[in-house]
Symmetry: C2
Subunit: 198 residues, 2 copies
């Protein structure tokens, strides 16, 4: 996360996106660095028959879509506003200048990318070698650690829909629903009027 003041000093502009509006699309060449002021953004892919895979969900103060910006490669996924969102966008030349003139920012970017790689390493191993219950639970536990889900007296409230969990773990909704029910039976989590707690 780079401070709004610094970004604006280098010419970043605020842009608003409505629910379901794309920020950029798969195959496009990157032009800007993006950082969320408010709202929620998901990056995802769609396969040939419309099935979605969510690469990640990003919230306030987080940036997204930098890897292709650094590599001059086309975006491997779409970025879409999950709800109404406001984003700071800084064009590439200015962003490069900002990095050159503020070396300390590089370390932050490194840590940020490292964190995302860490998530992807964990989840890719899960997705390819573990059963649905294990996958769902791992995603939930990761979410608790890094998405700071709210905690009340029932435990952490997992504010993902079953569909989102499915799209993040490569499972179908029905499978997620059944996995969550089983996890509840096993006492790994609680379902209180349809909301999941852990």
């Amino acid at each position: 996360m780079i401070s709004s003041e610094l970004l604006e000093k280098y010419g970043a502009l605020k842009k608003s996106f409505q629910k379901n509006e794309p920020i950029f699309e798969e195959g496009n060449l990157p032009t800007h660095y993006y950082q969320i002021i408010s709202g929620e953004i998901k990056m995802s892919n769609y396969n040939d028959d419309g099935r979605e895979f969510i690469q990640g969900i990003f919230y306030k103060n987080q940036s997204f879509g930098e890897p292709p910006l650094f590599l001059n490669q086309r975006y491997p996924a779409n970025a879409i506003a999950v709800e109404e969102s406001t984003i700071l966008a800084l064009n590439k030349p200015s962003f490069t200048k900002l990095l050159e003139e503020n070396p300390a920012i590089s370390i932050q970017i490194i840590e940020n990318l490292a964190q995302r790689l860490y998530y992807k390493s964990i989840m890719s191993a899960e997705i390819s070698t573990h059963d649905p219950e294990h996958r769902v639970l791992k995603l939930i536990d990761y979410g608790i650690l890094y998405f700071n889900f709210p905690k009340d007296n029932n435990g952490y409230l997992i504010h993902f829909t079953r569909q989102q969990i499915g799209d993040l773990t490569g499972l179908r909704v029905e499978t997620v629903i059944r996995a969550i029910k089983n996890l509840e039976k096993k006492g790994e989590l609680k379902i209180i009027n349809r909301k999941v707690y852990r």
Copy 2:
């Protein structure tokens, strides 16, 4: 990649590893930055019933295992020498000093992490939403672009075993063998005495 001279100037030491010898193991805390001088290293996970998932394979001049080093988190996977390998290891305090005194290196690290995130984004979407043939072909095409496989008059020689392809794509050997046969029938690749060309 950081030049050997610079790494050695900061005190990096050469270490040799035999085939199948671990460099570090899942759950350990990182202590060094590692860069390959010669050989081949794989990072992988094993699930409860011994099934392997290969996170990545690294060759000459590549570094591996940095994300947890930057984050002070435990390694999410094991690093094992696929063949006899020599590696430069620089301890964390010296590595931090190297980074501070050589800001240009940060940009290289960023690009490197970005490239790996790019690979993981592509493969995770593949693994969770596409059929085996698609997954295998995508991995092969990625390998051609970034692992510089040798090219001869039959095309690019894919020097992965069927088992490795399976462990990289979350498929079983038999499934990979069958997928490759089908891809050959469809003319997407060639099998010349058991070796795969594209």
